[in-house]
């Protein structure tokens, strides 16, 4: 439902005069957001056209669009963009698929086993990100890590693999950990949309002797589609902003092979202290966000 919908419902009611522009009750929220988000946004915009390096103690100086042209030719920036896209979409697609598959498998499983299984598959969602990161870092360890030990005992690999220290393997390894924590979200989403299918619809499919796959394709999939689209978009945004897992597992390394945009901006601001440059990165990010948000609102509107 979009924000205006509630308003429409009340329009049938006689309204005395013209409705006011704002309601006093939203003011506290707006004030908090203006102070803690609005002000930083404005100051990010202003910093983005300045050179402001805390490290050499120089006063900030206006440099126009130079930060942005520097970013355009910044190889690490483009690597970070690529990594962010791989990290985000890799996680969301696989997690959405796994979550949906689990929800379908557990759909008709009642009784204590079904309930226990449902509780188990959602539990990773409640594991704090930092713990997920440390846990998988421990599992992935080259020497003494359980993953290498199991793979070697099974005879799948000859020698231990340095999962997080290999620039080709580190990003996929982090994505796997991320999929582990993200899957429950899609499981819950799909499970709830499946339970929303009216019994009569499923019953008539049964009467028509529709097979499992036909029922899945023609009846269940349409019910799952909208929640999956909206949920994916929410998770894309969340993963774009994800810091804890990458930071704890690799800090963006080896090299820049797992440096995502968050990690890059954080490094730029709080390790290199180049606030102007970091802010310019932030502005680009905010523009990307607005585009995504517009897409999101369009999708929401399409649902009405």
């Amino acid at each position: 439902m979009r924000p205006g919908a509630a308003k429409k419902a009340h329009l049938s009611r006689p309204m005395r005069g013209r409705a006011p522009l704002l309601d006093g009750m939203v003011v506290p929220t707006l004030i908090v957001l203006a102070l803690i988000i609005g002000y930083p946004v404005v100051s990010t915009l202003m910093l983005s056209v300045q050179q402001y390096d805390l490290i050499n103690d120089a006063a900030p100086s206006y440099v126009g669009m130079r930060n942005f042209s520097d970013i355009a030719s910044d190889q690490i920036f483009w690597t970070a963009v690529k990594n962010t896209l791989i990290y985000t979409f890799g996680t969301v697609f696989v997690a959405a698929f796994l979550g949906a598959a689990m929800a379908l498998m557990l759909e008709n499983l009642n009784g204590p086993f079904g309930n226990a299984a449902r509780a188990i598959v959602v539990s990773p969602w409640a594991v704090p990100f930092v713990v997920v990161a440390f846990l998988f870092r421990f599992i992935y360890m080259q020497k003494g890590g359980v993953l290498n030990a199991v793979l070697m005992h099974l005879g799948i690999i000859e020698a231990p693999i340095p999962w997080l220290n290999d620039s080709d393997l580190a990003l996929p390894a982090i994505i796997v950990a991320n999929i582990w924590t993200t899957t429950p979200f899609f499981f819950l989403l799909v499970a709830s949309s499946l339970s929303g299918i009216p019994d009569a619809v499923l019953e008539s499919a049964r009467v028509d002797r529709a097979g499992t796959w036909a029922t899945l394709y023609h009846i269940k999939l349409p019910y799952m589609r909208n929640p999956l689209v909206i949920g994916s978009l929410l998770m894309i945004i969340a993963n774009f902003n994800d810091f804890a897992k990458v930071w704890v597992m690799t800090q963006g390394g080896p090299g820049f092979s797992t440096t995502t945009l968050v990690v890059y901006v954080y490094r730029m601001a709080f390790e290199n202290f180049r606030l102007g440059y970091a802010s310019a990165l932030g502005v680009i990010w905010l523009i990307l966000l607005l585009v995504t948000a517009a897409l999101y609102f369009r999708l929401l509107r399409g649902r009405d």
């Binding site: 499983l109 598959v121 440390f134 989403l189 901006v265």
Partner: protein
Amino acid sequence: MTDAGRQGFRHRQSAGRRIGRGLQFAGLGFALLWTLAPLYWMVATSLKTELEATQLDPTLFPHSITLQNYTGLAGGSLPFMQFFVNSVLTCLVAAIVAVVIAIPAAYALSRAKFRAASQVGYLILIVRMFPMVVLLAPLYLILLTTGLLDTHFGLIVGYTTFGLPFAVWMIKGFIDAVPIEIEEAARVDGYPRWQILLRIVVPLIYPGLITTGIFVLMEAWNNLIYPLTFITTLDKQTLPAALQLTFTGQFKTDWGGMMAASVVTTLPLMIAFFTVQRSMVRGLTAGSVTGT
């Protein structure tokens, strides 16, 4: 599945169905293994002795179960109890404050009788998507100039701000479900809006408020970037940030202790999560499927 359906299903059970059933259970087995293996490994390692936890060829089952990793946390050189209290305190206060500020806004948006309602609604949704890291430097400077850097108050301000948009949308969803007719009688009696909200609406959506609070709390508990940036004294640090900061020191080789600390960090969140699991979906997608 209804009883009648299950019987019909049994009648028509063919070879194909049986293969399908087999595949379903194989898939389930994989799903459970995939979910449980990392969790098992965390708990199992936390119960091992230091020597066993770090040996090169790890044991799948702890040979001798010990609680020394847990007792070590309480009595070790690091103030783990303090980290725990810091996390609980900051996240709890942030959750309560966010919910309290969000209630009137959610009510106004739900009963929208002002022209800018949809704009305000969209604005709050966009803010919910804002990347924390982008606003980190300016926020740092604000806290620095107001003397709130390295205080729990500053951290709570940060958590609250990012929990607030989410809380507004979620609570709006709960208020949407309250029929307006319930308020009519009170309105006829001449009660002011504040009274109607506090005396009639809030008691009705009380469970929803708890759920919202727990969501904000979980989000704050997961937050690593704020405490790492805004807290500079180790004693004031939160549990997740302390794990990251101290790992290179104390835990470099002590994975048993690390996993025990991880279990302790996870438990409160796990308990909170399963308390509100029923309203989980509504919470996760607040603002996108509310009112349904």
